[in-house]
Symmetry: C2
Subunit: 255 residues, 2 copies
Amino acid sequence: MGLKTTPRAVLIDLAGVLHTGDQALPGAVLALNCLRASGLRLRFLTNTTRTPSPQLFAKLQRMGFTLAAAEIQTAALAARTLVCRRGLRPLWLVHPDIAGEMGDSDPDPNVVVLGDMGTHYTYAILNQAFRLVMQGLPLMAMARNRYFMEADGLSLDMGAFVSGLEYSSGVQAEITGKPAPAFFAAALAELGVTAAEAVLIGDDLSDDIGGAQAVGIPGILVRTGKFRAGDDAQPDIQPAMVVDDFAAAVSALIG
Amino acid sequence: MGLKTTPRAVLIDLAGVLHTGDQALPGAVLALNCLRASGLRLRFLTNTTRTPSPQLFAKLQRMGFTLAAAEIQTAALAARTLVCRRGLRPLWLVHPDIAGEMGDSDPDPNVVVLGDMGTHYTYAILNQAFRLVMQGLPLMAMARNRYFMEADGLSLDMGAFVSGLEYSSGVQAEITGKPAPAFFAAALAELGVTAAEAVLIGDDLSDDIGGAQAVGIPGILVRTGKFRAGDDAQPDIQPAMVVDDFAAAVSALIG
C-alpha cells in the first residue's frame, strides 16, 4: 500500500472528506492550506447535487476553506455541460435548489436527467421518469452513490433511485459525476496532468476510489464521512492508501 | 410450446390477467366461470399490496368474477404469516389502506417489512428503512415486480424501491410474494397438488412465469396487462405457452 511517485495534482472529494454537513472536519482547513502551499494543483470533485455551485462555494468558505469557485467540479454542472454539448432537450428531475442553475426543462424532452432530489423525490416524479424511459428516452443521472454521511448518521443517496429506475425499466443510466471516466478525465484535462500524475482523496470506496482507480488515478481512502469498518479490506477495490482523515492524507502527500 | 398433461389445478394472477384497474378484461368473467365448471382447483395469487384482501375480493365480485375470499393468496398476507410464524417484531412500511390488516408496527422492531406504498413512498420512509437495515435488521419485501398496467399506462411497481434499498444497503430483501418459491409452495400445499400437476396463468414474465417455472409449475403467459412486445421471445424465460388473453388460456386448458 502506498503511492509510487509524488503527484502533481490532487482531486479532493468534499462531503465526508473536508466536512460533514456544515461542519469542517477536524484539521481539514489547516491541511488544505498546507496542501495549497505545497504548490500541488487542486480540484474539488463532488457528486452532491442538492446545492447549487455558488452556495456550495460560499458554504465551504464559511467553514474556513481556501478555494476558488472555479476549482469545484460538480456532477450537476457536468450533466448540464453534456446536455448542452449534445444539443439535448432535457427534463430536469432535480432538487428545487438547483433547478435555476440547470435551466428550464423542455416541454418536449428527449432525455431524462435525474439529480438527488432528497426529500423532494415523489412516486409521481419517479413514475414520470419511468414512463418516459419506457417510451425510449435515455436516462441520465448525476450520480449513483449509495449513501452519504449526514450530521445524524448515514442517509440514502440518489443511487437508490437510479438503480430502482434501472431495475424497473431495464435501461442503464448514464452517470455524469463520479465514477464516470469522463468526469475524472475532465478534471485531469483542466489540470493538465495525466491520471498517473494525479491522486484522489475520498471517503466513498466505490464511487471515489473505485472510479478513480479504474481510470488510473491512485485513490486515498479516508476513514471519515461515510467510511465504514471493512471498507479498507474489500477484495474488489483496494485503495492505494488508507488513512485516518484528510489531514493524514495531506501529510502522506507532502510530508 | 405447450403443456404435456392436463393440469389438476390452476394458479391465476389477478391484475393484468382478469382485470385492469376496476375493469374486467374482455371475456375474463365468462372464462373463469367455464374454468370453474370444469372442476379444476383454483387459486388466485396476487402481488398487489395496495389493497386489503376483503376490498380486493369485493372489487373482483363487483366486476362479476365468481370466487371465494379464501381462494385469494396475497403477498401481504404471506408477509404477515411469515412474521407471525417467526415471532418477529415488524416495522410495517406499507400502504395506509393495508396498515389495519397488517397490524401495529412494533416500537422496537427487529425486521423491516416493505409493501407497495404507491404515492405514499417518501424519502423519509425509505431512509428510515435504509438506516434500520444498515443497523443489521433484515429486510422483507412483499414483492419485487418491476411495473404494472394501470388504466393510463405502465406504472412503476415496488420492485424499484426494493432494489434501490438493496443497492444502497448491500442487503438482499426476502420476498414474500411471487416469485418466492415458498409463495408458490403454499398454494400447491393448500390445493393438494404437485408442481407438475398445476399450471400458472400470468402477465408478468419474470415474477409470474419465471417464478412458477423455477419451482416446476408450467407458466402460461397472456398478452394482456403489462405484457410488452418481445416478452414472448426472451431467451432466459420461455413460457410453456403464450396466448392472447385469459379466455384463450382457459380454452387451451379445458378445450
